[in-house]
Amino acid sequence: MKKILSALLASVMVLAMLAGCSNQPSASSNPPAESNPPAAASQPAENNNNNESTGGKTITMWSMWSSGEPQANVISAAAAAFEEQTGVKVNIEFKGRDVNKVLAASLEANENIDIIEDDYKRIGTVYNKFTYDLTDMAKAANYDSFSYACLNNQSIKWAGYLNAIAEQPQIGGIFYDKDAFAKAEITAEPKTWSEFLDVCQKLKDAGVAPLAQDSAYCDFAFYHTLVRYLGEEKIEELDLNGGWSGTAAEQAAQDIIDLVKAGYFVDGAPDEFPSSENKIGFGLAAMVICADYVTAEVNNNTGTQVNWGLFNYPAVDGGADNGAAYMGANSLAITSYSQNPQEAFDFIMFLTTGEWGQKLADDAHQIPADSRNTAPADLTGTIETLQAAESPMTWCAGLSANADIKDTIKSLCVELFEGKYATGADFCAALDALY
């Protein structure tokens, strides 16, 4: 009897353990996808209120936000409203910023996910084997008419088809405090490097440090100068093979060194993120080179409402790419194996356009994904800039092409802003020493 009891107990333990290891979704949390075939991509739901056609379905979304963040709150509220209107339940899992660490593996394992959310470059280059072709659904929704062509074209360039819908478009450049400019009696935004230097001097004379710079963004700031002189393709080539010395990279580095020597950076720069950028909120600095989210960061961190303005990085004499500006997006995509792609697409449209798109822009303080909506006051002009852009500059892609040395290059960029190099040639020699 004891033997039987022991064997039974052990069997129960083994079974319980194996059941616990199962990756089958539980009925309560993740109802299994229905067995109907995927909706034809060319036939989007024409009426989201039609409960009979879509009701009872559940779609699962893995979000890159953490629960409680403004974006997460809007997404949750939008999902509830979407369910109320269509009967389609959106099961959202807030995975946080490091979602990219688990997404690729989860997609390869055909995890029960319909919508993923991440940087559009990763969606276009890493997850593209597992993303749905949204071309037909986007066409039916007339997506081109209210989205940003530069972002769509970039997605198509990476993936070969439209596989991402922008949720949080971003734009980079020099963000500045308009009040500081007014104090220094600066009436026009600088367009060229010499005009930029004039602006810096006027700000310094007015008692405001011209530039804030956190070490975390030193590579991004220097990348702007490099792109002006060399263009992204040439930077990538140099990053992979070396040979920086003797190129225009020396002048790019020299420009930064000159800024440092002229005392145009705020005391402490390059500082630990976000200490330096916060100094704009405290009225100690006037400008920062970053993406548009810096405005919300500074406002939130310092409890102030900076009167923000934005201008593109100034052009340099004989520059190879004087018009480039960073543009990117956190985007949404549908998995290629989703059983409910049309419902997923409808939810994406529901979230990123119209009322909820506006709420997302207002609450998360971001550029609206729907160009018909209105940008928050201090991001005025960003919609038009994005609409007018043709090809976006990446986030340091050229300097990250060589994964083996990207960390060292980043540290060298910080050293450049610390004023450790006497000349641009010295800096380029340090870069070449890495190869």
């Binding site: 033997k3 069997s11 593996a105 470059k121 402490g268 990250s400 060292t408």
Partner: protein, 297 residues
């Protein structure tokens, strides 16, 4: 009670299965993977292509990996010396019969019960802060100029110092338990023989703590090779060479970083194997150095 071998087997089976599935299999897979070119950590073996020692040549030829190894070695040696010596000192002081023993023990151990994220944030945003940080306030009080504690020159040492602060309490507890296990008779006899506190420490406490020291060195080696969170906190947006350690290099290799879309799970596996071999080597060396240290008293 008569031994029932079948019953022992059945009760051990779940634990054995867990061990095989969750430990032995991943370890074996990682070792094998390190000899293959594999892009994704979950790629099926059909997508693997044999690469021989290519991944090992790749990582040892990588400037970032070598920097990360140098950083890890410095944390292990410098951080280890400071942490273990400070922990030993605190343990001896706390067990010496001073007043408020419980308070000091709790105070020194406290950093271990605070989230390391909160602890690192305190160091970065308050103690090392350039404008109003504690250290620069003290420096200015003495008439000095503000120091960039988190500049490229000092960032590594700032991170290591913070890590030491968070680690001392843990090792102090280990040493306290070892010291309290030493019979008081030995100290009483030594006192009668005229031995002072210093002599007692070097001739009684230290020799009888050899086994504990051996254990703490092994623990410290494991802590150092799995060093991760502090680097992430001190390089918040993207990895920097001043704070990179092998596990971060592995992490970036396997999952990519900000703006990085390349992934190399094979090279990541090779890093994992190298780290494991380092821990085994340290363990074997300490075993040999502290041979015969398991005393009974």
């Amino acid at each position: 009670m008569r031994k029932n071998k079948a019953m022992i087997f059945w009760f051990c089976l779940p634990a054995l299965l867990s061990l095989v599935i969750m430990f032995v299999y991943p370890v074996c897979r990682t070792v094998v993977m390190s000899f293959f070119q594999v892009e994704s950590v979950t790629a099926t073996t059909a997508d693997w292509s044999f690469y021989g020692l290519g991944n090992y040549f790749k990582i040892f030829g990588s400037a970032s990996f070598m920097t990360s190894m140098r950083n890890m070695l410095l944390i292990w040696i410098v951080g280890g010396v400071f942490t273990l010596l400070l922990a030993m000192l605190m343990a001896v002081v706390v067990t010496s019969g001073i007043r408020g023993k419980k308070f000091f023990r709790a105070a020194i151990y406290m950093p271990n019960i605070i989230s390391a994220v909160a602890l690192a944030t305190m160091w970065i945003q308050y103690i090392f802060q350039y404008d109003y940080g504690l250290l620069n306030t003290i420096v200015q009080l003495f008439g000095g100029d503000k120091v960039k504690w988190l500049g490229t020159d000092l960032k590594f040492w700032a991170m290591t110092g913070s890590f030491i602060f968070g680690s001392v309490g843990y090792y102090m507890l280990i040493y306290i338990s070892g010291i309290e296990g030493i019979p008081q008779d030995l100290y009483e006899a030594a006192t009668i023989d005229g031995a002072g506190k210093g002599r007692q420490f070097f001739d009684i406490t230290l020799p009888l703590l050899k086994g504990v020291i051996k254990t703490s060195i092994t623990f410290w080696s494991i802590n150092t090779t799995t060093f991760f969170l502090w680097t992430k906190m001190f390089s918040p947006i993207d990895t920097e060479s001043s704070t990179i350690v092998p596990v971060i290099y592995l992490y970036d290799m396997v999952f990519g970083g900000k703006g990085i879309t390349q992934r190399d799970a094979g090279a990541g596996a090779a890093v994992g194997v190298v780290l494991t071999l380092i821990i085994i080597a340290v363990y074997l060396i300490t075993e040999r150095l502290f041979k015969g240290s398991d005393l009974e008293y």
